[in-house]
């Protein structure tokens, strides 16, 4: 496995995907949760319209997005009107992975955002009032109160996002088939083709175990690095 060049390609793809997906989805979900805290009216409407993406079925939404972002699709039409160019969302080797990260973000922002929102709501208002009396500005309040206390929810979301990255299959299978130039080949796709098209089940099992260990190791690492005990006493 260590000498398998495709394995290392897949490994790099996964790291690359994570580098796009995790900062994007965490930032977006956090902003969504913060905005939801401030919103006075239409809160249910905002929540539902973001969350409805989460129940979209994998195959259906892959077909939808491959058409939406296709060469002649509405997104490219809009871009063409303003810039005179179109963007090869799924056919450019580097861009394809980013586009998949983008559509997965579309799907999961509402879900992750609500988990963070639940975490934000659990923070007692009195803490902010006390900080205001001490003359703290919004920036200080965010870094000293919000971020440390929302830590359990943030860890949950990060763990979900890592597991999702290692388990992604439907989107690249449906849209790019692993291409162009194997740049969107994921561990799950590699496992699937190895076991059921190239008929090497034992190698596929090795891959499965290696993938499992990697995602587990990463989750443990993340928890070590960022998880803090939170006590409100």
């Amino acid at each position: 496995m260590m000498q398998d060049s495709i394995f290392w390609r897949v490994f790099l793809n996964t790291m690359n995907f994570m580098a796009y997906f995790i900062p994007m989805v965490i930032t977006a979900a956090f902003l969504f949760a913060l905005a939801l805290m401030k919103v006075r009216i239409f809160r249910t409407f905002f929540t539902l319209s973001f969350l409805v993406a989460y129940v979209s079925s994998g195959v259906g939404y892959s077909i939808l997005f491959s058409n939406l972002f296709s060469e002649t699709g509405p997104v490219n039409n809009l871009i063409y009107k303003f810039t005179g160019k179109t963007i090869p969302w799924f056919s450019d080797p580097q861009l394809a992975l980013f586009s998949i990260a983008l559509m997965v973000t579309w799907k999961f922002v509402g879900y992750y955002g609500l988990i963070l929102f639940a975490g934000l709501q659990a923070i007692p208002k009195s803490l902010y009032e006390a900080a205001e009396l001490d003359g703290a500005n919004n920036w200080v309040k965010f870094w000293k109160i919000t971020l440390p206390l929302v830590n359990p929810a943030l860890t949950t979301v990060l763990v979900f996002a890592i597991n999702l990255t290692f388990g992604i299959f439907t989107e690249p299978y449906m849209i790019t088939g692993g291409g162009p130039m194997r740049r969107t080949l994921t561990f799950m796709m590699y496992m699937y083709t190895t076991a059921f098209q190239r008929m090497k089940p034992s190698y596929a099992s090795t891959l499965a175990i290696a993938t499992g260990l990697m995602s587990y190791g990463l989750v443990v690492l993340v928890r070590k690095l960022i998880e803090r005990e939170v006590s409100l006493t």
């Binding site: 905005a35 401030k38 919103v39 006075r40 009216i41 239409f42 409407f45 905002f46 539902l48 319209s49 973001f50 969350l51 409805v52 993406a53 129940v55 979209s56 079925s57 994998g58 195959v59 259906g60 939404y61 077909i63 939808l64 997005f65 058409n67 939406l68 296709s70 002649t72 509405p74 579309w106 922002v109 509402g110 879900y111 609500l114 988990i115 639940a118 975490g119 359990p152 949950t156 597991n163 290692f166 388990g167 299959f169 439907t170 299978y173 449906m174 799950m188 496992m191 699937y192 076991a195 059921f196 089940p201 596929a204 099992s205 499965a208 175990i209 993938t211 499992g212 995602s215 587990y216």
Partner: protein, 277 residues
């Protein structure tokens, strides 16, 4: 006074931004739904169609059947598989959860710990061994191959075990004094008291199994037994230029979940905040 005004302006801007973003987030659905009713030549050229047509639905439901891609059957396959699995998961989780939270027997804690422990392993690690097992049982290309591995859910058992803990033991004692057996206690006492847990487990199981793609793709090769997701994927693979019918089929696959979600959103939101604990 000035301060108050400033806050209200930024609040208004926030509402506008959130409103625009919400519309962007719903837009793919709107485009999908609208495009599935557009005539083929207008799908990519016009935002607002000149006329609406149901040709694509006719094609996918009637013509595709003659091309040996039976979408109506696939829809019923999906419904059948999803309902069977959901029913089984809710009932089995309710019973196993009762045993693990309310009955005293040797090795109970070991079993509880084992169930939690095995939830740590991602599902993909078991795909190859599971496939070997299903093939050894001679179940490839049957509904059982899709249904059997999902009949019991560790997550469902865990959810029921947690929610039963909040039910006072007195209730069970009282029911026992009235001569109720364990079966009766679970069906008539525990299940109604944990109705929201049952709804959460049922809802998430149903959506999960409806969306399940990789496993049925592996074990089902017969077009007549494919669930909707797999048939749609293979149709997309072979006839990717039939954009209209593909979008219509995507509507058929996705919109039922959206409707279920909108109806049961209360339980859905409860499920999300429960998964935090």
């Amino acid at each position: 006074m000035r301060r108050k005004k400033k806050i209200s302006i930024s609040l208004i801007i926030l509402h506008i931004v959130m409103g625009v973003l919400s519309i962007i987030w719903i837009y793919p659905y709107v485009w999908l739904l609208l495009s599935s009713f557009k005539p083929s030549e207008e799908i990519f050229t016009r935002t607002i169609p000149t006329r609406l047509t149901i040709d694509h639905y006719k094609f996918i439901l009637i013509m595709a059947g003659k091309m040996e891609r039976p979408f109506v059957r696939a829809l019923f396959n999906s419904i059948f598989i999803s309902f069977t699995v959901t029913f089984s998961v809710v009932i089995s989780s309710a019973f196993i959860g009762y045993a693990l939270s309310r009955l005293e027997f040797k090795g109970r804690n070991t079993i509880v710990n084992f169930i939690i422990f095995q939830m740590l392993f991602p599902g993909f690690m078991f795909i190859v061994p599971l496939f070997v097992l299903i093939r050894a049982l001679g179940l490839i290309n049957t509904y059982s191959a899709v249904i059997l591995p999902s009949l019991i859910s560790a997550w469902g058992v865990f959810m029921f075990t947690q929610s039963y803990k909040s039910i006072p033991r007195d209730y069970i004692e009282a029911a026992k004094l009235d001569g109720a057996n364990t079966f009766w206690i679970i069906m008539r006492l525990m299940m109604p008291l944990t109705r929201s847990t049952a709804s959460i487990v049922g809802l998430f199981t149903f959506i999960g199994i409806w969306d399940n793609f990789m496993w049925p793709l592996i074990v089902i090769r017969d077009y007549n037994k494919m669930p909707l997701a797999v048939l749609l994927a293979s149709f997309n693979h072979e006839y990717s230029s039939y954009v209209g019918p593909l979008l219509a089929a995507s509507v058929i696959q996705t919109i039922p979940m959206v409707i279920i979600f909108l109806i049961l959103r209360k339980y859905f939101l409860q499920g999300i905040s429960l998964s935090l604990k």
